[in-house]
C-alpha cells in the first residue's frame, strides 16, 4: 500500500479522539478511486462502529471485500457487524476466513474469543485470548477481552485484577478506566468505580456509555445510599447470609425478642434497598441533565 493520503491521516486522528462524525465527513472528501481502498474502508468501519451504525459497517466491509478481495482486516469488520446483527454463524465464518489468512492476528483472535464468549463457549474463548496474549500481552484489545471473559465466568476478582493491570500499562486509555470502573462496581468498590468512569468520561466526553456509568456511580455515592454500602461491598449473598445467621443465632441463644427486632430491622432495610435507589436515581438524573 502506498503511504496513506492526508485525508486518511486526518480521519485517523479524528477517530483516535472519538470524533467519528467528523471522521466520516473527512472520508467523504476522498476521490472516487480511493474510497474503496482497504484502509479507507477500515477507517470508515471504525467510525461507523463508534456511532453504533453496525448495519452500515457490514455494508462498508462487504463493499471493501468486493473491491479488494479477502483481507483479514475487512473480514474482521464483517465478522463484528454480523455478530452485532445477531447472525453469529456468519460472523464465525467471516472471522475464521480472516484467521485462515492471518492466524496470528490479535484483533481477529480477540473478536473470535468475544463471539465464543457471547455464545457461552467460555473455555474456547479463554484459549483464543491466550493465543492472542502470547502474541501481544499488552494490547488493549487483549486486556479488554480477558476482562470480559473473566466477568462472564463470574470471576469478579480476576476481572478487576486484569483491569488494574490494564490501567497501569495504558493510563491514557479511557476504555481501561471504564473497565476498571465496571469491574470495581461489580465488587462493590464504589469509589474506585466512580473514579474509573469519571476519568473515562473526562478523556472521551463524546462517549455516552462512560457518562451514563459515571452518573450511575454518582447515584451509588449519594448519602441516602450509604446504608446499602455493605450489600454493594460484600455482595447480596454474604450480607443476607450474615443477617439470617444473626437472627437464627439470637433465637438459638434464647433471645427471641432481639431476634424479632433484628428481623424487623432487616425487613425495613430490604424495603429501603428496594425503594430508595430508583428514587435517588431520579433525583440525581434531574440535577444532572
Amino acid at each position: 500500500m502506498t503511504s496513506p493520503s492526508p485525508v486518511l491521516h486526518r480521519a485517523q486522528a479524528l477517530l483516535a479522539t472519538g470524533r467519528a462524525e467528523q471522521a466520516l465527513t473527512e472520508l467523504s472528501t476522498l476521490p472516487a478511486n480511493e474510497v474503496t481502498g482497504s484502509y479507507a474502508i477500515q477507517l470508515r468501519c471504525a467510525a461507523l462502529s463508534q456511532l453504533d451504525r453496525w448495519a452500515d459497517v457490514g455494508e462498508a466491509a462487504r463493499a471493501g471485500l468486493a473491491a479488494n478481495g479477502p483481507e483479514p482486516d475487512l473480514l474482521l469488520w464483517l465478522g463484528r457487524s454480523e455478530h452485532e446483527a445477531g447472525r453469529d454463524e456468519n460472523a464465525e465464518r467471516a472471522l475464521l476466513d480472516g484467521l485462515a489468512l492471518a492466524p496470528n492476528d490479535v484483533d481477529l483472535l480477540c473478536a473470535y474469543a468475544d463471539l465464543c464468549a457471547a455464545n457461552g463457549q467460555l473455555d474456547k474463548a479463554g484459549k483464543l485470548v491466550d493465543l492472542a496474549a502470547a502474541r501481544a500481552p499488552h494490547a488493549p484489545v487483549v486486556y479488554a477481552t480477558r476482562i470480559q471473559i473473566a466477568h462472564a465466568r463470574g470471576d469478579d476478582r480476576e476481572a478487576q485484577r486484569i483491569s488494574r493491570e490494564f490501567v497501569g500499562v495504558h493510563p491514557e486509555n479511557p476504555v481501561a478506566h471504564a473497565l476498571l470502573g465496571g469491574t470495581s462496581a461489580a465488587r462493590g468498590h464504589i469509589d474506585t468505580a466512580y473514579e474509573g468512569f469519571r476519568q473515562a468520561a473526562a478523556a472521551r466526553p463524546t462517549e455516552q456509555v462512560f457518562a451514563e456509568s459515571a452518573l450511575e456511580l454518582r447515584v451509588a455515592r449519594h448519602p441516602l445510599m450509604l446504608p446499602l454500602r455493605p450489600v454493594l461491598r460484600f455482595g447480596a449473598l454474604k450480607t443476607w447470609l450474615v443477617a439470617v445467621g444473626c437472627i437464627l443465632l439470637l433465637r438459638a441463644v434464647g433471645l427471641p425478642v432481639l431476634a424479632g427486632l433484628l428481623g424487623f430491622a432487616w425487613l425495613a432495610f430490604c424495603i429501603y434497598s428496594w425503594v430508595v435507589p430508583p428514587l435517588v436515581r431520579r433525583w440525581v438524573r434531574r440535577g444532572w441533565s
Binding site: 468475544d114 463470574g154 447470609l241
Partner: protein
C-alpha cells in the same frame, strides 16, 4: 490444537425470547416468599436463559426439597415464627441453587446485549402467592 480452535462451533441461536431477570434479585422473593417462590422464579428464569432441562429440574427439585424441610419444621416446631423463619431459610437456600446455576448464563446473556427484565411485579406476585400457598399447605397438612 489450533486446528481445533479454528474450526466452527457456533450455531445461530433462536432470537431471544423473554428477557431474563437478574438471578441476584430473586433473593427478595425467596426471602419473603419461601422455597416455592424462589424455585418458581428460578425455573421461569432458567427457561428465559435457555438452561438445559436437568438444571431446571434441579431447581424445581431444590424447591420441593425446601418445602419438604418446611413441612418437617411445621410438624415438629411449636412456634409459628419458627415455621415462618424456616420458610426464609429454605427460600434462601433454594435461591443459592438458582444463583449457582444461572449466574454464568445470565452474564453471557448480558454479553449478547440482552437487557435484564424488572423483577418487581413478578417478584411480588411470586412472594405473596407462593407464600400463601405454602402457608395453606402447612396448615392443612401438618398443623
Amino acid at each position: 490444537m489450533n486446528d481445533e480452535l479454528f474450526s466452527p462451533t457456533i450455531r445461530d441461536q433462536a432470537p431471544p425470547g423473554k428477557r431474563p431477570w437478574r438471578p441476584e434479585s430473586i433473593v427478595y422473593p425467596a426471602f419473603f416468599g419461601g422455597p416455592f417462590a424462589a424455585a418458581t422464579l428460578g425455573v421461569l428464569n432458567g427457561r428465559r436463559l435457555a438452561l438445559p432441562t436437568p438444571q431446571l429440574l434441579a431447581i424445581a427439585g431444590a424447591g420441593v426439597a425446601g418445602f419438604g424441610a418446611r413441612l418437617v419444621a411445621g410438624a415438629f416446631v411449636e412456634s409459628d415464627s419458627g415455621v415462618r423463619l424456616s420458610g426464609t431459610v429454605s427460600g434462601i437456600l433454594v435461591w443459592l441453587v438458582v444463583l449457582l446455576l444461572q449466574r454464568r448464563a445470565f452474564r453471557v446473556a448480558m454479553l449478547r446485549g440482552v437487557e435484564p427484565a424488572s423483577l418487581i411485579r413478578p417478584g411480588l406476585f411470586a412472594a405473596i402467592g407462593c407464600g400463601l400457598l405454602e402457608g395453606a399447605l402447612i396448615l392443612g397438612l401438618v398443623r
